[in-house]
């Protein structure tokens, strides 16, 4: 969904609807009047209930009356208009205001903070919140994330420009962080995050503060697969940060689902005392793969390779090779486009791209096709690997041991990750920032 579509819906019937819309900053600190038109107090905050999905209803107001914060129920609201709140009832319950589960204070808990735009996978800052009257009830409709809205908050209330016609972000596409709200007992619902790609969630985590990132990771915790996917996409620092805050069992479970080469790197980032216990808690197959990778330096071909790849013996046919791609369920996605060919004893013969297989006659032997003979020793460092793959236009490169046996494969994706200059990341973060 693009900005235009979402905002267009919000803006139809403008003039009529505009009267029934008001922003939170227009209301805060406004006088509150009783039906007789007398001022009884000032508006301190608005209380919304987030829990039930859709547009959150305004459940009440926090009004300052004679030096005390008093709760005024949502049903007592007659009118909310810029600079004034009018109540239906004259008699007010003078009980002290208290927070209740599931409710947030819009000014204290949401305004000015980060929100997740779950439609576009980015963080936005809630510079203003827009309320609207739906039937008899006032609801939170959307967020104004424009810089003007931020500036507006700095201007004295009376002099503020009216931004009610401003472009809005629909609340349906937004998920606030709620862990900082006391007593609300709220969680970010996992369902809302599922709309995003794991890489987008990882970007959110990277852009957010540590507490916010922790909140996102807590939300996805129930889904180990998704957690592992996000971990694979996270940058090194955040990976380490979040893995460290997990128990040994949880860490082992996450590492178990990750690609072995990423898991091996991450294991090394844990505190030394935890590395062996965590490794021992992983599944046997993953342990075996990790131990294989850990025999090499992390920046060498052996340390970067995936121990899983698609392979056939040298006398296989093109059909068999294609079938090997179809049935493979362990290799990382990036390595599925290349089939490696070995002797029966495991010695490397060559590799061939899936495209070349598709374009060849089905019955031909793979060994008759023009194979890529390039391979690299496990001790080769990243510079050699990169130059070889670049010079020979390879997307995947076989890694061999001293005897020429194929022991793993490196995909171009592994290299790109390692080669991105620091300032590129900064550049992107800076331009897509909040």
């Amino acid at each position: 969904m693009s900005d235009r579509v979402g905002d267009g819906q919000m803006q139809k019937n403008e003039s009529a609807e505009e009267k029934r819309r008001v922003t939170v900053t227009q209301l805060l600190r406004s006088p509150v009047f009783n039906p007789a038109g007398e001022q009884v107090g000032r508006l301190e905050d608005l209380i919304a209930k987030l829990a039930d999905g859709g547009y959150p209803p305004i459940k009440g107001l926090k009004v300052r009356i004679a030096g005390r914060d008093v709760f005024v129920g949502g049903s007592s609201i007659d009118k909310l208009e810029p600079g004034a709140v009018r109540l239906r009832t004259g008699t007010l319950d003078t009980a002290e205001f208290q927070r209740r589960p599931g409710e947030v204070l819009l000014a204290a808990d949401v305004l000015g903070r980060h929100l997740m735009d779950v439609a576009r996978g980015r963080l936005v800052q809630a510079h203003d919140l827009v309320l609207g009257q739906v039937g008899t009830e006032w609801r939170l409709l959307g967020v104004d994330r424009s810089p003007q809205a931020m500036l507006r908050r700095l201007v004295p209330r009376r002099a503020r420009p009216d931004l009610r016609r401003h472009v809005l972000l629909d609340w349906k596409d937004v998920q606030p962080f709620v862990a900082h709200v006391p007593t609300a007992k709220l969680l970010v619902p996992l369902q809302r995050l599922r709309r995003l790609h794991p890489a987008q969630i990882a970007d959110l985590v990277e852009g957010a503060s540590h507490e916010e990132g922790e909140e996102i990771m807590d939300a996805v915790e129930g889904d180990v697969e998704l957690t592992a996917d996000i971990f694979e996409e996270l940058d090194e620092e955040h990976r380490t940060e979040f893995l460290k805050s997990r128990s040994d069992e949880e860490a082992a479970r996450v590492l178990d689902r990750m690609a072995p080469d990423d898991a091996a790197d991450l294991l090394g980032e844990l505190d030394q005392e935890r590395r062996l216990p965590v490794l021992n808690m992983m599944s046997n197959t993953q342990q075996l793969k990790l131990r294989k990778l850990l025999q090499y330096h992390p920046t060498t071909a052996g340390g970067m390779m995936s121990p899983d790849y698609v392979w056939v013996l040298r006398d296989a046919t093109v059909d068999e090779a294609l079938e090997a791609i179809r049935t493979d369920d362990k290799s990382p996605h990036q390595l599925l486009a290349t089939v490696f060919i070995t002797e029966a004893d495991g010695r490397f013969v060559g590799s061939i791209a899936a495209v070349d297989l598709l374009r060849s006659q089905h019955g031909r032997k793979v060994s008759e096709l023009p194979l890529v003979k390039m391979h690299i020793g496990a001790g080769a460092d990243i510079v050699e690997v990169t130059l070889m793959m670049a010079d020979y236009n390879l997307t995947a490169l076989g890694v061999t041991d001293g005897q020429g046996n194929l022991i793993g494969a490196i995909s171009v994706d592994d290299l790109i990750q390692a080669l991105i200059p620091d300032d590129w990341r900064s550049r992107v973060e800076a331009s897509s920032g909040v």
Binding site: Q272, H297, P298, V372, K373, G379, E384, Y392
Partner: protein, 544 residues
């Protein structure tokens, strides 16, 4: 999509049967297969060296900082040409020390601070970094003193020059561009060649200089002050931050065992250049002050510049002041980078100069605050500059042995270095050098506390210990103890491809007797040093 590249598969990878054994896609793209065969042309070697060169030159030339320039000038002014021989002896010391960390960096791909934490426990890792951090800020303070003195010579108030230098240093750091910082270093290193015109213009006496180089001794016989001057020369030339810096820099440049020979050449080159620079300053000051009333009355670097100007002409004084300024900036930048590297090692890359300000707020604010503090200390009128210099020396004395002992132990760790562990003969030399450095550091620490002690006798006593220790190490290594029997059979090719496996850092190694002895000795030394400093502090507090 507008056209695509023709498929080149058939010609390039189908028929050509090239395997890694025959052709190396070397670093920097300029290094071809021939490079690994013995028959290399000099041109190829030089090109390779140019591509690899950097860490060694930066770390060693960067060592001629404000403190270094002042110390060499002091040696020249107070002892004439007679201490030049110490510089010659420093070349092997520098090379042995730095070669160990070069090897550690290339083979493990990990910084020294991290390696210490991984192999000896977090306590020692923290100790190294905390000490380094503190020392580096004291060093920055002395660099600001250098800036102030140089500015004073040109008639600029230090209250103007030091704040500008502070802002410059903080500003460049905050820009978060580590590479740019490193490149700027080369400009300043180039400027340090000013030592050569200084030498030429001062018309040194060749005969006396030659005698100074080959004849160990000191003008006026060996006294406590003379001995301390020698230790100061050693102390300012062999600094702890160099070890951390070069190892991390080697890792950063992705220098692997294959390029070790070139990196060693780089290091040797750096060691020679630093000694030439130091000798130039020493000879220039010796030539200027010999036979004048100021001879053997060193005050400070400003005094030296004035003296050079009055005896040899104003241009020489100006060159010296410029050299001092350049050295101060180089020193400040080098220790800054070292701090950043070490922090990154121990706390993860999040806390270092590699990050933008927003991502490492704590690091940057602490850093800026401490640089500002270091500068403001210098600006306080009547601040005891001598005390600051002493503090730097003492702290270096506490930190250097730790760093070298750890480097030596790590260089004997077969799990980490595999076929690259120290050879027995190198161990003997290294033990001797580390022993000498330990002894010198001990003397420096002791003399700051007990100023009246007979340094010559103390040096003799400690010298006996060093010789005994070296003989013990020699017997121990020569008696066999093949450090890595399996690795000895490795071919050159296998050795060159050997890197530390990730497995090595999975858990801490068990404590071998040698390790235990070394660590106990180190701890004992540290306890003694710290107790003595505490005594000194109490003494100062009561005295004032």
């Amino acid at each position: 999509m507008a056209g695509r590249e023709p498929i080149r598969n058939d010609s390039r990878s189908g028929q050509i049967q090239i395997s890694v054994d025959e052709e190396i896609r070397g670093a920097f793209g300029t290094i071809r297969a021939e490079d690994r065969t013995p028959s290399k042309t000099w041109r190829q070697r030089l090109l390779t060296l140019a591509a690899i060169m950097g860490p060694g030159i930066i770390v060693l030339v960067g060592d001629n900082d404000a403190g270094g320039v002042a110390t060499y000038a002091q040696a020249g002014q107070n002892a004439g040409y007679s201490l030049l021989w110490t510089l010659i002896l420093l070349v092997p010391v520098l090379i042995v020390n730095q070669e160990m960390v070069v090897r550690l960096g290339a083979v493990t791909g990990v910084g020294l601070a991290k390696l210490i934490a991984e192999r000896f426990g977090r306590f020692w890792g923290w100790y190294s970094v905390a000490g380094l951090f503190l020392l580096n800020f004291l060093v920055i303070s002395t660099e600001f003193i250098g800036v102030g003195l140089a500015a004073e010579y040109f008639g600029i108030s230090k209250y103007l020059a030091v704040p500008i230098a502070t802002l410059l240093l903080i500003g460049i750091t905050l820009s978060g561009n580590f590479r740019r910082w490193e490149r700027a270093m080369f400009v300043f290193l180039f400027a340090s060649l000013l030592a050569l015109p200084l030498l030429v213009l001062s018309h040194p006496d060749p005969g006396a200089a030659l005698r100074g180089f080959v004849e160990p001794g000191i003008e006026g016989g060996l006294t406590s002050n003379g001995a301390l001057l020698i230790f100061a020369i050693v102390g300012t030339t062999v600094a702890p931050w160099q070890l951390y810096f070069q190892q991390s820099n080697v890792v950063d440049k992705r220098i692997t065992p294959r390029w070790l020979e070139y990196e060693k050449a780089d290091t040797v080159l750096g060691a020679v250049i630093v000694v030439i620079g130091a000798a130039a300053i020493m000879m220039a000051t010796a030539s200027a002050f010999k036979g004048t009333s100021e001879f053997s009355h060193f005050t400070d670097a400003y005094g030296v510049a004035r003296g050079l100007a009055s005896h040899l002409g104003s241009s020489v004084g100006a060159i010296f002041a410029l050299l001092l300024f350049d050295a101060s900036i180089v020193g400040a930048s080098a220790v800054t980078l070292t701090t950043s590297y070490a922090f990154g090692d121990v706390f993860g890359s999040r806390q270092s100069l590699h990050r933008r300000v927003g991502e490492a707020k704590t690091f940057y604010s602490t850093y800026a605050a401490m640089v500002a503090l270091a500068a403001s200390v210098v600006l306080i009128p009547g601040v005891p500059v001598g005390l600051l210099t002493t503090a730097v020396q003492v702290l270096a004395g506490i930190l250097l042995p730790a760093a070298t002992v750890f480097a030596l132990l790590l260089c004997n760790d077969a799990a980490v270095l595999g076929p690259w562990v120290n050879q027995p003969w190198l161990n003997v030399i290294a033990v001797f050098i580390v022993g000498v450095l330990l002894a010198l550091s001990t003397i420096l620490v002791i003399t700051t506390v007990f100023t009246t002690i007979d340094v010559v006798r103390l040096a003799l006593v400690l010298g006996v210990f060093v010789v005994a220790g070296t003989i013990a190490a020699g017997v121990f290594s020569l008696r066999g103890l093949p450090p890595a029997g399996a690795y000895m059979k490795m071919s050159r090719e296998e050795r060159q491809n050997w890197r530390m496996p990730a497995l090595a850092l999975l858990e801490r190694p068990p404590w071998s007797p040698v390790r235990r002895v070394a660590i106990v000795a180190l701890s004992a030394y540290l306890v003694v040093a710290i107790v003595m400093l505490a005594v000194k502090a109490v003494e100062l507090a009561i005295g004032s």
